[in-house]
Symmetry: D2
Subunit: 361 residues, 4 copies
Amino acid sequence: MSFNTFGKLFRFTTWGESHGIAIGCIVDGCPPNIQINEKDIQIELNKRKPGQSKYTSQRKEDDNVQILSGVFNGKTTGTPISMIIYNKDMRSRDYETIKNKFRPGHADYTYFMKYGIRDYRGGGRQSARETAARVAAGAIAKKVLEVKIGKKYKVVGAVTQIGILGCDTNNWDDKFITKNSLFCPDKSILKLWEKYLLSIRKAGSSCGAIIELRGKGIPVGLGAPIYSKLDMDFAAAMMSINAVKGVNIGSGMNSAQLTGEQSSDEISQKGKKTKFKSNNSGGILGGISSGQDIIVSFAVKPTSSIINSRKTIDKFGKNTSISVKGRHDPCVGIRAVPIGEAMMHCVLLDHYLMNVAQCKS
Amino acid sequence: MSFNTFGKLFRFTTWGESHGIAIGCIVDGCPPNIQINEKDIQIELNKRKPGQSKYTSQRKEDDNVQILSGVFNGKTTGTPISMIIYNKDMRSRDYETIKNKFRPGHADYTYFMKYGIRDYRGGGRQSARETAARVAAGAIAKKVLEVKIGKKYKVVGAVTQIGILGCDTNNWDDKFITKNSLFCPDKSILKLWEKYLLSIRKAGSSCGAIIELRGKGIPVGLGAPIYSKLDMDFAAAMMSINAVKGVNIGSGMNSAQLTGEQSSDEISQKGKKTKFKSNNSGGILGGISSGQDIIVSFAVKPTSSIINSRKTIDKFGKNTSISVKGRHDPCVGIRAVPIGEAMMHCVLLDHYLMNVAQCKS
Amino acid sequence: MSFNTFGKLFRFTTWGESHGIAIGCIVDGCPPNIQINEKDIQIELNKRKPGQSKYTSQRKEDDNVQILSGVFNGKTTGTPISMIIYNKDMRSRDYETIKNKFRPGHADYTYFMKYGIRDYRGGGRQSARETAARVAAGAIAKKVLEVKIGKKYKVVGAVTQIGILGCDTNNWDDKFITKNSLFCPDKSILKLWEKYLLSIRKAGSSCGAIIELRGKGIPVGLGAPIYSKLDMDFAAAMMSINAVKGVNIGSGMNSAQLTGEQSSDEISQKGKKTKFKSNNSGGILGGISSGQDIIVSFAVKPTSSIINSRKTIDKFGKNTSISVKGRHDPCVGIRAVPIGEAMMHCVLLDHYLMNVAQCKS
Amino acid sequence: MSFNTFGKLFRFTTWGESHGIAIGCIVDGCPPNIQINEKDIQIELNKRKPGQSKYTSQRKEDDNVQILSGVFNGKTTGTPISMIIYNKDMRSRDYETIKNKFRPGHADYTYFMKYGIRDYRGGGRQSARETAARVAAGAIAKKVLEVKIGKKYKVVGAVTQIGILGCDTNNWDDKFITKNSLFCPDKSILKLWEKYLLSIRKAGSSCGAIIELRGKGIPVGLGAPIYSKLDMDFAAAMMSINAVKGVNIGSGMNSAQLTGEQSSDEISQKGKKTKFKSNNSGGILGGISSGQDIIVSFAVKPTSSIINSRKTIDKFGKNTSISVKGRHDPCVGIRAVPIGEAMMHCVLLDHYLMNVAQCKS
């Protein structure tokens, strides 16, 4: 059971509401003697935090993380690592209008119907603010894997499509991603995206996005059949992120259109190196990593909180309409990049530990 | 931890290899006093079994299931239900050629690298034969939900794309699906698909497919944030099926291209009924069922075992090539329909029980 | 996997070290719409906190709990409840002497050997201070069960033996327990225990204790064979408490000496009430509650931190001796009463929810 | 969740009823490349099987185990190992008398009240016959540990008390245990026990027993705080065995009577060896193995099925009496020795793998 816990051997449990006192998480199962400090985590959190550009929410959050346990003299001790991030810029008045109305496309209706009660302030638990806690957990997983696998280990995420505008992934440039606020990997499209986003925002609307994650330096053998497949866990991990509606591994949904010859990646050996001619599998065969780059992509639907008026009902069952005026991202997908990266780190570390337990003991 | 177990409250554990003595599963957590017999399960198994048409594998398997425990006087007792299906038509000689070679696109390489040993006969544990066991588990979940929710509860799956040929889902006809061996929901495309498949087979090749599942009559409130989201569990469930590379919920990957107005389904009230104007969410908001139809689709890559020769390596690290001549499906996706349905039943029952525990106690 | 998590449907995860910034826990799976506030939890914490009498540790801790999430307008929302208790009276200097030495009977040696690192301040994670977090979780479980089962539901714990001095459980008086600082249920022995404890403390030594828990008003049917037996979970729960070395259900270890006639409790019916002649089973048959009072007892070994000098080694493998002068309980067992009660509440709620899911849905 | 599953990384799931077609289990998480065959398992099963002496049930069961999956060419493959044991000597007529009556001390009443249905034949799922399945799982765990730790690894169990007659554990003789059908470790008391048992049987009664398990050659560092303590898992494991009512680790319940000086085992170093002066801890400190012998004991209550008439009720709520005439053990505790050993193997392997994952990766 795991309502708010993710992972098996490396596990994190998140808690907290958008407009409560704080949010946070507990990381359990972290190996001991790993150097970790708050800066390592803050770097990742800063990538995700709002208020950094005109393309994301204007909510100002420092997202300062504090480690409360599990680290002693700068090293993990093998005991649970508790982290807390206090909420600061909470304008609860912004949310009075949605107190009794259900925003279309949001979880307002389903939460209320399920629990009979909901913390409506800023979406409460359903808010994407929860994802800050997992970015913190992912920062720890990353550190551990860098120690266990080595510096060749790397996960890079980018936005590959915004609304109707896909980038050219052949132009993918790791460094460029870090230099623009849209996590765009393709220099040639950035300007267009920026224009597009501003027009979307101006129009009181929003748009979706596709994020692609690339894991590098991952050893062969991670993942376990049948119900702990690596791709199964990636699918679950990404689908757990707010607003995600689709997940692809390698060729993903496009696999349907391929022939067997196109789809199955030919193998060859060069000295001690096993090579694959293509990577339709996304680096995973039978649920187990093949040693190729791991490629996972996912779609984030458009922000549901938009200014344009939409028909809906209120909690008393009356028809009404709603226009949401808060400080929302025109494209929530953008900030999903560090979240996706964090989830990939966590899944990989979990499977790394499982593989050690079953096959390297 | 759950290498071979799926589910939380309603759980099944599968076991068995393609060419071992038998395969089977244990269903744990099934409510008591549900009428169940082998026929109920056999009906579902028969949908999946090979050798039924020229479009699927010619392996002949009766797939006769036997219940070994957990049912007394025709009713479940609340104790584990063990089911066994003996393997019959095992031509192990077919697989001598792949004993030492790794089939591209298959898990041969990764299993061997992970475990240092593999049962190569028919793919061993990695074979899609494992899915028969989950179809059996799904048959039980279906029976339970029909009792708990009532006869309005229904899951229908169909193939909506074969290779490059998508059907028109506006023509979806539940009854037609049961009358053709391709699980095609659109009468207008069936003939074309049949021709296409025969040509693919003749060419010694294979093709992919997309399967769509529709769940009806599902109450609002199933699913639980954050890491037991209903769509997260569907994504995991479908991605656990052999050869699946992508999963969509509702508008899925296409959500990226929508605007907020298009994507978020407007809500209205008519008397006691809550209605949604569209169903881009696939019946799930914030990980919780909204009462709409649940729509999940997934892509199955082309069969990797094809006659056409492909480059690969053997277990000694030598370059070689392979042509797989066994009795393989030209499009494994077709038989994935009852498997997907089974997984949907299992996920829904699991969440049904969880919801009862947390919110209806 | 559950290094720091307890429970299945009602789960809590604890974190924190004795001399870190704070300790705390997250409660997950709590049903919604239960009235809860910090006072409800504080009452239980106050029973456990140190510095309340001359028979327990003189460490002064307010143990003020703060709820950080999961409660909105005074009611649970079904989302995780995060609670924090800041550490205050930390005299880390007290522990400099044990920085490099392993206290006999403590986990110093095993933690160091396992993890290669340990937070030695106050025992770090191994300190009984962790138990405050579970008392907080137990307070919530108690509230939920009082709502779900009703006010007849009650768990009462008491100390029934201190060192060599057992009380007469026939004199058990619920009210008296709350009126003395030793949780003594038998007025006739209290004075003797107090004298004994003072002499033990004066002698620089310590002693063990036995705690008995009585659960009342528990419905028949809680617990689940085979590996979720109610008594199995009680045994695990109690053995997870620091310094506990033995657990009995009903007649417990004494069952060995009984005959079948003595041991098996005869059953009779009076109107609608099922009665049992005796209660050797401790209210549990085949792992399922019978409707009788549930009786669980456990032994707590003497405090290992004593003033009297003991032989040991240091972390460099050198023989040495140790005399521990901190503010230790002469009998840690006494403060185990509210901890045992908390664990019983948690186990019962967990099984209550499981039973609802499987058998009442 | 784990109604019928035990373990975390090394897991087994049992199924089957006393008088169904068969019983069995699935072992999941077993490391690959371990040599295992049916004989290895049969040896352990033979220790447990009934009908071997006049002191145990006369039911004749070959208890022949068959491995259905997970082993290829004599070695484990890392995939689930399914094992089946067919039921043979089922005299269901023996149980007609108990069809509607609840045997005092048995789970008849609680199963019926919980599930509303029960397979009364031979106790159905509640029968100790289920334990054969876990002995099979334990045999595999034993093999794995002998490979991983080496031949110094050993678990030996014995009966140390039958009814009111305790043996002298100072006379413990490993070899003698294997030479008598009562698993008696003390030659001096065997005759007396035999006489006692015959008199108990003759009197139509039954008696309880205490079993002690000794684990040797176990490395320091197994076990994990807080809720995966090694002793916690032992307590759970033993309490999951039918009729067990109490569990002790090391000095167990007697710890209450000790002083701190007596209880905490002094430590010393001799060259590279760490020594303990005594073993009150039972080889476990803070939930982690210390490298000493692990000592676990547990009490088994008397067989509840006795010939002597006992008052009870039937399923219609009428008062009645019952005399159970089947082929029951006068002291079920005796056959609990191989079961306890099996559970100890399983817990140790589980923790061995967990320790590797967290601390040796």
